[in-house]
Each structure stands twice: as C-alpha cells, then as structure tokens.
C-alpha cells in the first residue's frame, strides 16, 4: 500500500496571554490510500487541532511549531496560501462537527456548493449547477433542485451535514478528514450519515480520517485506530485487536468506563479518576501518569517512548519496558 499522508513530529501551540498552550505535542503517523483510520480522544486531547494543522488552518495565536506534514511525500508546511488553496478541497477536504456554523447562513445552499465546484473544477456556472444536483442526489437528498435554492436555516441538522459531505466530496479529494461528523446528530441520523460516508468511500476509494470521541463509531467504521491524550498518540493498532486487548492504561480506562451490554448483570462502571492534564504546563513525563492506576516512579519523570506490541501496534507506556518496572504501585 502506498502512503498518502505522513505526519512527523507535529507540534502545534497556541500562544495565549496565560502562556503557551501545547495542544499537539509531537504526533506522528501515516495514512495509506483508501484507508479508514479513526482517532479517538476526549475533549482537549488535541484531535481537532491536529486535523486543522493538516489542513493548514491554524491561525494566530496558534502556530505549527515543528514537524512535517507530507502529502504524497510533499511537505505542506511552509507552502504559500495560493498553493494551499489548490490542495484544500482538491486533495484534502474537511468536514467539521457543527454543520450549522460551517455553512454561511445568508447564502443559498446552491451558491455555496457551486462556488467550490467552479473554483476547483474550473467549469462554467451552468455545468456546476448540474454537478451540484448530482452530488446532492449522491448524498441522499430528495428534490435537490429545490434544496439548492434554500438557505441553511431551512434544513435540519442531518440535512446540513449531508450538504457538507457533498461539498467535501465535490472535487473528489483523496483524503477526507471528518472531525466529529455525527456528534451533533441523533443516533438514527448518525447511522444514516455513517452509512453514507462508508458508501462513498467504497465508490471513490478516498482515505478517511475519522475523528471522534465515540468508541462505538470507531469500532463500527474503522480498520485502524489511534488513541490521543494530552496532545499525543498513546496507542495505535488495528481496531479489533486494540479494543479487545488494550496495551495502554488510558485505552483500558476508556473501555472500562463504558457500560457493558450484557444481560441481567449490572457491572459497576470503572471510571478514570481525575481529569485531563493542563496543556499550559504539560507534565514532564507521561501525560496520563496523574490518572493512571499503574503509575511508577519513572512515569512522572520521563516521557515514555513507543513500544512495538504486535503487528502494526505501538503504545507509549513504560509498563511495556520490563527493566523500568519498580513495582511500587503496580499490581
């Protein structure tokens, strides 16, 4: 498989009055062509900032401090706005969480959609209209000609998210980044949207980076998953393998805090104690050390490296290093 996207040691910070908020603190991964990869993490884990970094949409006071973002081996960081414009939309597209604020409320759906098509596909207005109608049909919107004349407020949330998807796929990008695409939607509509995205993926062979906080969504839709915490990737691996046999205490904790769907028995939930680290003053060692039930003395002092734990799996945890175990709090 060929690598479509490679990210190396990405660091993005926001320079606020209170100090430097290190939202992404050294993230590295790759994405193959046509692959569906999930990123899970809680709020503040840096997953959205990472997505925006890939799109070069970080604005002041934010800044990409370090790292490389390679698309087809070409570094996107340092490209001019003009160059980026031809990449955004054509090669990478982004769907954001809130379709209500992503659409311009005073511009008709048709205009917003054809604007993208005219700009990137270099076609005349009439043809763009035709393409737009076609796209809306593809994303399952009934009477598309009528919809094009409507304003965003006339559509429901699920409908707006479909429009966003139509916009994103209008220039057949090779990579679609979906940042919490269904979080604002009801479960039955969520199922419709996820189905639609899977269907489109099958048809067009685009790669999908699905960012979510919902472990269920990842389990049902992705092949590979990365777990983010405190601006770093804690663990990575094939979905099935990782969910059944987590190798990082944070992943274990996340899975433990979900209710088990077994009959008759009511197991008590096992929450993760405490709250996420302050990224204004991130801890020197492992970001999860403060909440981890297995914390050892080294965890607070030194950032763990990645340990290979199986095919395509890595985890950032000192527990994998036999020589570092001091057994202090570890059972």
């Amino acid at each position: 498989m060929t690598k479509l996207l490679e990210i190396e040691n990405l660091k993005t910070s926001f320079f606020t009055e209170a100090g430097e908020v290190q939202a992404v603190r050294g993230v590295g991964f790759h994405l193959n062509k046509g692959e569906v990869c999930g990123i899970v993490g809680e709020s503040g884990s840096g997953k959205s900032v990472m997505a925006k970094s890939i799109m070069s949409l970080i604005h002041s006071p934010g800044k990409i401090k370090e790292g490389r973002i390679l698309l087809h081996g070409e570094n996107l960081i340092g490209k001019s706005d003009k160059e980026l414009r031809s990449i955004r939309g054509n090669e990478i597209a982004l769907i954001s969480q809130d379709p209500m604020s992503a659409l311009n409320p005073v511009v008709r759906i048709g205009k917003q959609l054809t604007e993208v098509i005219i700009r990137h596909r270099k076609v005349k207005k009439k043809e763009a209209d035709k393409i737009a109608v076609d796209l809306l049909r593809q994303v399952g919107i009934s009477s598309p000609e009528e919809r094009l004349r409507q304003y965003p407020h006339e559509l429901s949330g699920g409908m707006k998210q479909r429009i966003m998807i139509a916009m994103a796929i209008s220039c057949s990008p090779e990579l679609l980044i979906a940042d919490e695409p269904t979080t604002a939607l009801d479960v039955t509509i969520q199922a419709q949207i996820l189905d639609l995205m899977n269907e489109l993926k099958e048809k067009t062979d685009m790669a999908l980076l699905l960012i979510t906080h919902d472990l269920g969504v990842v389990a049902q839709n992705c092949e590979r998953v990365m777990v983010m915490y405190g601006g770093m990737i804690m663990e990575e691996g094939p979905v099935k393998d990782l969910f059944q046999n987590p190798k990082h205490p944070y992943t274990e904790g996340l899975l433990g805090s979900l209710p088990k769907q077994s009959e008759g028995v009511k197991e008590r939930l096992i929450p993760i104690q405490g709250s996420p680290p302050d990224l204004l003053n991130p801890p020197k060692g492992c970001p999860f050390a403060g909440r981890c039930p297995y914390t050892m003395s080294i965890c607070e002092k030194q950032m763990p490296p990645y340990f290979e734990v199986g095919i395509g799996r890595r985890t950032m945890c000192w527990l994998q290093d036999e020589s570092k175990k001091d057994g202090a709090n570890h059972e």
Partner: protein, 328 residues
C-alpha cells in the same frame, strides 16, 4: 428496600403540553406545537426511570412539566398521591423542596457570579433557614458526598471542569434532601471517562438515600445501565415502556428496534445487531402525521396506521407498547 420499591412515587396521567404558535399572514393563524401529547407512566420509589428519544421528541418537556418548571396544558401529575399539575405556586412550594433537578449544561445552570457555598446554600435558605454554621456543615457533607474537597467551597464555577461543575449541580440538588431528582441529560456534556464517575456517584447516592430519578438521555447504553424501567418517546408520545433489560433484549416497537440498532457497538467481539436504518427524518411536531406518528418512517406501516392512533397495550407484565402490530 424491597418494600419501598413497590410504592408509587410519581404517576403521570395523560400529560399534554402544547405551545401556541403564530403562523400565517401577519401571524393571524394559530397552531399548536404538541410537544407532549398524552404521556402516561409511573415511577416507583427508589427507582430510576429512563426516558429516551431523539432531540425534539418532548422528553425534556415531560421532565420540566413534572417538576412544574412550566404549566401543563392538561393531564395529571400525582406526586406521592397529590395532583401537582394544577397546584398554585404557594401550595407547590413544599413539593418544590421534594423535587430537584440536574440539567445538561453545567456551564449554564450554575450562576457564574456565585461561589460554591452560595450556590448550594441558596436552596437551603429558600426551604428553611439554617444558620451559616449549620449551612456550612451541611454543604461540607454534601461536597464530600459528591467527591469535592473543602477547599472548593469558595471557588467560582469557571474554576471547575465540566465534571466538577456537574458535581456541584448534584450537590445543590441534594442539599434539600429531595425524594425525586430530574436528571435531564446530566452526562451528555461530559467526556466518556468523566461520565462514568458521575453515573457511579448517582448510583451511590441512590443506594444511600433512596432517592428516585427520572433520567433523561439520548445515550441509550448509559440509560440501560442506570435505569430500572425505560420509556421510549417519539414525537410527544411514549411508544414503549419496559424494564431496561427487557427493552434491550426484546424491543417490540419498530422505532425502539431502529433506535437500538443504530447504537454503534464498541464491543468488537459482539455480533452486530441487524442495522435498521430509518429513512427520512422526524416530522415536524407542528404538522405530525395522522394515526401512528411513526408510520411515515416505519418499515412495517399498514393501512390502519394512518387512521387509528395505536393505544398502549400490555404485551407482557410490565412491557407496554403502542403499535398496531400487536393489536389482537
């Protein structure tokens, strides 16, 4: 404990809440938005009743009607035997103490200019007037119960995380020792790892004090975990009521089936439920379909569904469903 369980605390009978809407030219037309359209259920003491449904189905309106945050259009709400649906504010006050609420957004439901002490002491002052010293004692006890520390006492809401704020809301609700707490999406705004903390705490409090919960949420797996009984709402009506295990293992109403099949299952080992993807979206409550309101999206719709409103049928003991498929 078993004895307490069987006593009814709350009985809701044919509850309706309509909102008048002005429509048409110069707002001359008048229509009613039927947010809640004839809802019946009972909650026993010490039990947790879960209410699920998609946004706009009226579940929050039911909750708010019960604690009388607004007036109801018609119907009865029997709280411990008394119909509080039509009580005047003055007579209602003693029931206000017994019914408390925890809301979804802990950022909006705590006054940002009050510290924790002021926030929690407010209901104490309204319902009885203990001295400052007594108040402090009670509040410290409560903070301990919800897992906060003494040095949080004089802090303001913005200094807390979402989970901690929800703890403050819960402590505030508990301060007047209520019999009933309305939990309206109390964990929806929280992260997964923090959700479990709050759910465990709610369970502990119930085991300790025997308080009754009405738990409203759209996260179906959490609702199953915490509830004894669950009601499923669609467009202002309850379409199915059953004990939580029964509802999840043997859902009867086509809507419940679709709703459950839409939950993305995190357990990769488990067999996938057959996905039932509903077509279309929830119709507007201003212009709801005739007969069964679900018929426009129902995969099993028959001709009778358009004509007759299905009534609640008890299929098994404690399992009720409103669907023509189960008519005899």
């Amino acid at each position: 404990m078993v004895q307490i369980m069987s006593e009814t605390l709350l009985e809701v009978k044919d509850l309706k809440k309509y909102y008048p809407m002005k429509t048409g030219f110069l707002n001359r037309g008048q229509q009613h938005l039927k947010a809640v359209d004839g809802v019946n259920f009972t909650i026993n003491k010490g039990e947790t009743f879960g209410l699920v449904g998609e946004s706009g189905c009226g579940k929050s309106t039911v909750g708010r009607s019960i604690i009388r945050l607004h007036d109801v259009t018609s119907g009865n709400i029997f709280f411990d035997g008394t119909d509080i649906a039509t009580l005047k504010e003055r007579d209602l006050k003693k029931y206000r103490r017994r019914m408390q609420a925890v809301f979804q957004d802990p950022y909006a439901s705590l006054n940002p200019t009050m510290n924790v002490f002021e926030l929690i002491s407010e209901p104490l002052k309204i319902h009885g007037s203990p001295s400052i010293k007594e108040q402090k004692e009670i509040i410290l006890d409560l903070l301990n119960q919800v897992g906060l520390k003494e040095d949080h006492l004089y802090r303001y809401p913005h200094e807390f995380s979402g989970g901690q704020r929800q703890r403050v809301s819960i402590a505030r609700a508990l301060s007047v020792k209520p019999d009933f707490i309305l939990c309206d999406e109390p964990i929806s705004a929280l992260d997964v790892s923090v959700q479990a903390q709050v759910i465990n705490m709610l369970e502990d409090i119930q085991a300790e004090t025997g308080v009754t919960y009405l738990f409203i949420a759209h996260d179906l797996s959490m609702v199953r975990h915490i509830s004894t009984k669950i009601g499923v709402m669609y467009l202002g009506n309850i379409v199915e009521i059953a004990s939580s295990d029964e509802l999840y293992t043997n859902p009867l109403h086509p809507y419940t089936q679709a709703l459950l099949s839409a939950i993305p299952e995190p357990d990769t080992l488990k067999e996938k439920r057959e996905r039932i993807i509903l077509k279309g979206e929830v119709p507007s409550p201003l212009d709801s379909p005739s007969g069964c309101k679900f018929r426009t999206r129902c995969p099993h719709a028959m001709s009778i569904c358009a004509e007759v409103v299905p009534s609640m049928i008890e299929v098994e003991s404690g399992h009720q469903v409103a669907c023509h498929l189960f008519d005899n």
